[in-house]
Structure formats: C-alpha cells, structure tokens
Amino acid sequence: MPKLTIDGKSIEVEKGTTLLAAAQQLGVYIPRYCYHPKLSISGNCRMCMVEVEKAPKLLTACSTEAAEGMIVSTTSDKVKAARRDVLEFLLINHPLDCPICDQAGECGLQDYYMDYSLAPSRFRMADKVRREKRRPVGPHLVLDKERCILCTRCVRFCSEVTKTSELEVMERADHSYIGLKEGKALDNGYSLNIADICPVGAFTSRDFRFKSRVWFLKKVPTVCLGCATGCLIEAHHNENIIYRLVPRPNPDTNTWLCDHGRLTYKSVQAGDRLSKGVIKNGLIDLEPALREVASRIDEARTSVAILGSPWLSIEDNAALARLAKDGVKTGSYCFDFNSEQGIKDGILINKDSAPNTSGVKAVGAAHGGIKLAELSRRITAGEIKLVLTEARAAGLIKQALKSAGTRLIVFAANRGEIPPDTYATLPYASYFETPGTFINYQGLRRRTEPPVKAPEGVKPLWAVVNKLAAYSGDSLRLESAEDALEGIELK
C-alpha cells in the first residue's frame, strides 16, 4: 500500500491506484478531458499533468500509478503553466462558436478556460483548421468535427462498452477527425451516452439540441421505467416540461443509460397524452367517464376481473387489489407476473420490459389472488364479463379477451397504449407526474420523483381507483399513496 503526499496532504492508497484517483480520494480535483472512470486510460489530452518531485517532467495523473513516497503537486507554477498551455493548444483550432453551440454551459473547454487559463488567443481566427460541422451520425447524434478535441472518449466507449467499434480517429496530426464508415449510422442502442461523455460540443443529442439552454434546467433524481433494470436517472426539466433524461451513475445498477430509456419521457409530452376519459372512441370528461365505468362494474360485480400491472407502481397495484377485495368483492383478481429477468445485452437492457414485475409480487403476497393462467381460463370460459386493468397489462391476456369478447376497461396515460376493442379508458398520472415505488430485477427498491405536474384533472391511479369505488358506494379510504401500501411488506 503506497503512501504519498498530494498538495501537502498525505494518503495511503491501494496498489495500482492512479494519481488522479488518489487525488480524488483527498478531494483534490485534477482537470481532465480524455479520462473517464469507466473507460480505459488513454492519456492523450494532457490536461491532468501534475508535478512529481524528482520526476524530470510533468506526469499525467490519469496514467501514473501512485508509488511509495511520491510528493505530488497539482498547484505548482509549472502545473498551472502546463494547463494554460494545453488549453491554448486545444483551442488553437477550436471554432469558438459558443453562442450557437448546444454544449455551452456544460462544456469542458469553457469551464477549464475560466478555471485554468483566461489567456487571450494568440492565433488568428482565419488560420483555424476548418472541418465538417453538424453532420447527423445515426438517429440520436450530431457530430461537429471542428469542436472536437480528439480525446477519444467516444471511440473507447464504442469499442469497450457497446463493443461495436463504429468510431475511430481518422487521418493524423491536424487533419485528424473522429469518423465512422461512410453511409453507416451510429446506432448501437447506447449512442446518447456519447453526447454525455463528450467533454465538448462535438457530439450533441439530436433530441435535446436547441431545446433549452442547460443553465435553465432543474434536476430531479428519479428512476428509469424503460425495463426491469431500473436505472437511476436524473430528469432535467423547466416550467413543467422535461427536456432530457441522463444517467445517475451508481455502483449497483448503472453508469450509462440506453437510448430507449432516455426517450421514455417523450410519452408524457406526446400529443396523445390523455387528460380525459375515453368511451369507445370518444373523449369524455373524467367525471362522466368514471360514472360510466362504475356503473358497468356494478352491473357485473362478481364477474368482474381485476388484473394488476408490472408497468404500475406498487401503490397503484395495491389500490387495484383493494378495489378487488374491498370494493368490487370479486374473487377474480390477479397480481401474478413471472417474466424472465436479467440483463439481455450484457450492458443494461433487461429481458423483462416491464419495470415492476418484482414489485407486483409483493402486492400479490399481501393480497393473494389467482394465477394469470387461471384468469385467462376464466375469461375464455366466459365466467368474466368485465376486465379492469392497465393498458399494457391487457396485452398479456389478449388472446383470452379476444376469444371470449369480454368487455375491457383500462387505465392508460397515452391514447396510443389503448388496445383495440377497449370499451372504456381512464387516464392516470404517469410516474413523471406522481411518485411511485418500484422494485427492480435486483430486488432494489426504486422510487420515482415527479419532475412535472400531470395535466389538469388527471390524478394518480390510486386516487382514480378510490373515486371509482366511491361511485359504487364503497369506501377504500385511500387518502394517499401510502394508505394503499398498508399490509404490504417491502424489503
């Protein structure tokens, strides 16, 4: 275990620790462009150079192993001069188009220039090397070769994380640029991570570009519900609009975030977002829709079936269970989902596309219910007159519903989710609009924090269920989401 001194503070670190990591443990920040904790070390940007006593030259902190007795300085005049020089070098051919650059505000060049340089340029604008700008590469990214500092984070990401190796540094010296095969798209399912790790404005997200300046964005830590992996994310929003989702790196689940997960917020702001009920194909105000659904349920009563959903939170599933047991008082309710879980692609995407299969199990354990196969059998046998469930969960009993012609009533957030031949649809607040508890494939509890408000009049699903019961003259006494959790054991 080597012991060393960094800026006068001594520390003992594991063998093999780099100077940069050791400094980080001490809370000493060393600037870097090419270094990324989850990628291999490249040592090309030279921004992290530090002075080590007795070493003839400055050393790159990212690639130098800590050794016994090293005396390191990150603040000496030599280091400061080196940082200034590296920045001047990186900025020689930089187009300085910050006013029209989407990276402005979270740009490594801007930030470090302010922190470590502040020197005027000695190079004429006219002498700069010009390169291709705003080239769309694949469905999610735009590449600006002029802004690139050739740190190769994107190259290493594609070869080490996705193992698709689309990107490389082509040509050499001041001809170099990041390139990929002519006519090939950069679309590997994780490409938006490249926009995140690009320290400058070379790779920007086609989805987020020019939608908002980053300094206007507010950040809420929440959870991705794109699949059972349950990645931790941050939603960036402003004035009730979500602009992007980015990963919140954590040791348990994720460093990155897949492209599918990043775009899940789209449905909240989509044109087909439901703020009213739907009866057959006609939009109808929420109150009459609720009254209609309640009277259909009253008609059918014990031949009503209620199916939970792995796409809903534990609270909302529990509310449905309470409705079945204490409201409708039917025996045909089901909280039994057994999708196979596990990482499908070796990175993040789960075999189970629903976020809460494990969480629904806890509801089933507390409230009982029948198996999914038994529910299908009862529907097929014609014992069920009406099924109440969530739109995507209805897909799991599609065959049975079709063969029996059972009346289907669903909860849906978007019109596009509603299955064909649905009798009635009730809107509910999505988990970007209301908190919810989920359990991911690892058994970890995940809680969503809502960045935005639901459309006017749209309530969380548990509240809609509570109201539905009230219309039928039953009281479930669900005043809050927590009320629904009563009797459910969560680890």
């Binding site: 698709t164 689309e166 082509m170 050499r172 390139g179 095969k181």
Partner: protein
C-alpha cells in the same frame, strides 16, 4: 460493388498473419500487400481486409489514413512525396514543394493530366541528416535544391528514374 480478395492474396495473408501473435498486428503488412497489388488501397479493400482479419472497419480505415505511405486513390507513374517535417522544412522543403506545384500545375494530392506525376507532402521520411528529402515511389532523393530537382524532373519526364 463487391471487392473480392484473390485466393492468392488470402494465401499470402495467411502466411503473413502466422508471423504475428495477433491479427491486428498483421494489418500494416497486409495493407502494404494490398497497395502493391493495385497501386493504392481502395475503400472496398479496407472493408474486405477488415472482414478477413475480423477487425472493425473503422480500425482499418484509421490505420490506413494515419500513414501517408498508403495511397487511397490511384497515383501517377511517379509519386513525388516531399517531406514536410521540421528538418526538411528548415532546409527549404516548402520552397521545393511550391516550385513543384508551379512546374507541374497541380496542387498537393493531385495527379498531372498525363498521369505521370502525383504530388504529395508527407510526414518525416527519417532522413533528416540529408534534408530536404523527397521520395519518388520507393526511392529517396536527398540534399535537394532547385537545380537538382529540375534535373530530376526532366529525367522522370523521359521515363528514366536516375540513380540516387
């Protein structure tokens, strides 16, 4: 447009690969072979080579484009490659290059209409001691000055590659 590596090339490639512990180590020798066959490395050739060596296409392209020794389009009969690195530059390579541009009426990277000369500037040829240096196809011409260059061009125009 399918580019197919000849069986003969593949046999040679197998022999070359056998000399190296890893496939990617054989990349440069195989690119040289490819260039020997056609006079340049075609885009489709890079693709075929990537498949043969089971390397990503981007890797092959990156290596090919890094080295100025690999030509990416057919060149003239004589490929004039003027060193542009520091020793040659200080010994007047830039002036020689400008002179060639004027005399041949072409820019860097272009070929004369008669297909005899292609002009490029290249990175260090490793002959700094006898700067300025120009490489013609496989041959070095060292300690150049304007007169020597004119004489050389004259010989080359008549299809003679002088001793050097």
């Amino acid at each position: 447009m399918a580019f197919i590596l000849s069986e003969e090339f593949k046999a040679r490639a197998a022999k070359i690969c056998a000399r190296y512990p890893r496939a990617d180590a054989a990349l440069i020798p195989l690119l040289l072979e490819l260039q020997k066959e056609a006079g340049y490395v075609a885009e489709e050739g890079m693709d075929a080579l990537a498949q043969l060596l089971e390397l990503p296409y981007s890797r092959v392209k990156a290596v090919t484009t890094f080295y100025t020794m690999f030509k990416r389009e057919p060149a003239g009969k004589y490929h004039l490659q003027v060193c542009r690195n520091i020793s040659c530059h200080m010994a007047g390579a830039a002036g020689l290059l400008d002179g060639l541009k004027k005399k041949l009426a072409i820019e860097e990277g272009e070929t004369t209409k008669d297909g005899i000369f292609t002009l490029s500037s290249v990175e260090c040829l490793g002959a700094c001691g006898s700067a300025p240096v120009m490489q013609v196809n496989e041959h070095y011409f060292e300690n150049l000055n304007e007169e020597k260059l004119d004489a050389l061009l004259e010989e080359l125009k008549h299809g003679r590659l002088p001793r050097h």
